[in-house]
Amino acid sequence: MASRTSKTDREDWPGPRVNHADFAARLAARRTELHLPEAPRNAGTHRTASKRALLKAIEDIGGKW
């Protein structure tokens, strides 16, 4: 999954790390290869009251999520 970089001048990170552009390209290729359909959006039935209020606030300022 995650390629590790070997640059010593970069942040010391204990876990895997990926370059975003490489990761996005691999994902796009994998999606094409598998012919995967779009997954349904979360039904949202388990959202907390805080989350529902936040999503409403985003909607109120014209956000599209």
């Binding site: 990926v18 796009a28 979360n42």
Partner: protein
């Protein structure tokens, strides 16, 4: 040039997260960790789209201070009691949901750093193995049956997963009811 698989509004949110994350690191604090639905969206190339943009941070006051500096505000007014923050210009929201992912049950050595989302700006994200296990735990609870489909999709798309870790984590989150073989049916 490769076309990005991500939704533009999702990319805008990630760019902002990477900026905030970089500032946190520059100030000597731990980076926030992206979890939940937005992490699923990242690992699926927006095939799974959610409205949730959740973060974990052990230094919540400092993170909130940095978010304010980047233009976030607390929603105010009737019916807007939330732990979340909105960004009026970019019209998106973040919520700090916990100190650590999944009640601390994740292996920190699996948390991934995404480098150069924009040049020089990185962000941390929960491991895809833990994310899949979280979906399987929700599926096992019987309250979110659609999570199995998400878990399988994430597994199919991320072919380089640590299978031993994934199997262990699914069993932990599902009280032993499921394992990696349930993703492969």
């Amino acid at each position: 040039m490769t076309t990005s698989p991500y939704r533009p509004e999702f990319e805008a949110a990630l760019a902002l997260l990477a900026q905030v994350s970089e500032r946190m690191r520059a100030r000597g604090f731990t980076r926030p960790i992206l979890v939940g639905g937005a992490a699923a969206e990242y690992y699926s190339g927006s095939a799974i789209a959610t409205g949730d943009f959740d973060l974990c941070s052990t230094v919540q006051p400092e993170l909130e201070e940095e978010m304010r500096r980047h233009g976030f505000v607390r929603p105010s007014g009737p019916g807007k009691s939330t732990r979340g923050w909105v960004h009026p210009e970019l019209r998106l929201g973040f919520e700090i949901v916990a100190d650590v992912p999944m009640d601390g049950n994740v292996d920190r050595a699996h948390i991934m750093l995404v480098d150069d989302f924009v040049p020089g700006h990185s962000f941390a994200i929960i491991a895809v193995e833990d994310l899949i296990a979280d979906r399987m735990g929700q599926y096992a609870s019987g309250t979110a049956r659609d999570r199995l489909e998400q878990a399988r999709l994430l597994y199919q798309l991320n072919s380089g997963v640590d299978k031993a870790y994934l199997d262990r984590r699914i069993r932990e989150e599902s009280s032993g009811d499921y394992g990696i073989s349930d993703l492969e049916d």
